[in-house]
Amino acid sequence: MIGYQRSDGRKGIRNVIVVAYLVECAHHVARRIVDVSADMDVHLIGFPGCYPNEYSLRMMQKLCSHPNVGGVLIVSLGCEGFNRKGLHAAVATTGRPVETLVIQERGGTAATIAAGVNAVAAMKKSIANIPRVAIGVEDLIIATVCGGSDGTSGLTANPAVGKCFDQLVALGSTCIFEETGELIGCEQIMAERAVTPALGEAIKACVDKAARYYTVMGYGSFAPGNADGGLTTQEEKSMGAYAKSGDSPISGVIKPGDLPPSNGLYLLDVVPDGEPRFGFPNINDNAEIAELIACGAHIILFTTGRGSVVGSAISPVIKICANPDTYQRMPDDMDVDAGRILNGEATLDEVGGEILEKIIASASGLRSVSESLGHQEFILTYKSFEPVGPACLPARASRA
């Protein structure tokens, strides 16, 4: 695998130019710049709100300095609350090319689109010669998420990803699993896998927080389609989702935008801290994917039973289909057919190995199915977090 060397020592598997709008009012201009550029490696991200928010600034800073990103074009209306200078400065310190276009200063829509298209073309040239470097599996951060889960997810795709995670951790990679709201009911068995008792307590506290938060929201992390697919309760969905984590020891708990401090398996706590303020923790699967990417994930393993089609900006999404009937209905949206396990045509270990092969192919530059179809979904909303406590990161604490 050959990747892109970044100034912070990390290595990317893509060399994407990100066009980032800082308020919904700049969305159309930014989208037109991406559309007119007509390049699969120019991606649109953005934040819709006009009020400032520490979490969204940090998310955008981490996303724009992700190792898969080669350059950044910031598109601002001009009067929004987002700290555009803070974002610009954070990208500039990484040595990446970065430019900010302010629509109100550039003469409006057409002038800014024209300037943006030129800026992207110039950036494309300037990042074409970024040093290429060998990448090993140990350099990769691989994250997993499930979406459109059904009763087959926990029997095929999720445990197959767990098998793949076990192999990756053994090879020295960093793996991240998430959605503490979808781990309600698994807190005790999960805590027993923590590398220290204090981390085990921290994991239980995370799930307790998620249960309290979702109780205030009135529902668990559960869509009507989950029930159509045979899942009856949150804790049943949780047990199936939990299988994605495999059997490795859990090395730590991180929050959105935190880089795992070592290799191993990490749990991402996605539920905001404090009293519920801004609504549901993650309003859809892409909100979770954006957070995993902000934690440095190079590739997302997305398991689905009902048949999700999404991809993502910045990092490739590999789609693993749990349900054999769904695979038959929409094979062109899936990278891996894990439903074969249900028919006895493949074992969990075989499908886990197949997922690892897809990761290596994707890290070598091959496009995943969702990437080839042009899926580059992205969403970012309001949240608030406190930093993780020392018990959450035993590896970092022992080095300090």
Binding site: T152, G185, I189, A211, P224, T232, E235, M239, N343
Partner: protein, 106 residues
């Protein structure tokens, strides 16, 4: 009984009182549950659950060897176990009924 029938259901853990459907079951299909032949009382889709034993209101449902909720009405061996006869012991879920979207439930 045919090979196909013996493969319809999976026991995920020996403690479980429900079985997972490996493929769609049709009303009247012969189910073999712990050596007992039972005719399926209705259609049940892939991934859904079937009662392995007689279940009473309040019984804890075990899948993967762990509790995943409890029974809300008496359920016979071989019957579908789902939202009509089972509930969470943690938190309610969103259903088509609660969103007023019952027409889109297929």
């Amino acid at each position: 009984m045919s090979q196909k029938d013996s493969n319809q259901l999976i026991l995920l853990h020996e403690k479980d009182n429900v079985l997972a459907c490996r493929r769609k079951i049709h009303r009247g299909d012969a189910l073999m549950i712990d050596g007992l032949a039972i005719a399926a009382s209705g259609d049940v889709d892939v991934g859904h659950k079937i009662a392995r034993i007689e279940l009473d209101t309040g019984d804890v449902v075990l899948k993967y060897g762990v509790p995943i909720g409890s029974i809300t009405q008496a359920t016979r061996i071989g019957e579908h176990v789902h939202t009509h006869n089972m509930k969470s012991d943690y938190i309610p879920i969103t259903t088509r009924q609660s969103t007023g979207d019952e027409t889109n439930s297929s």
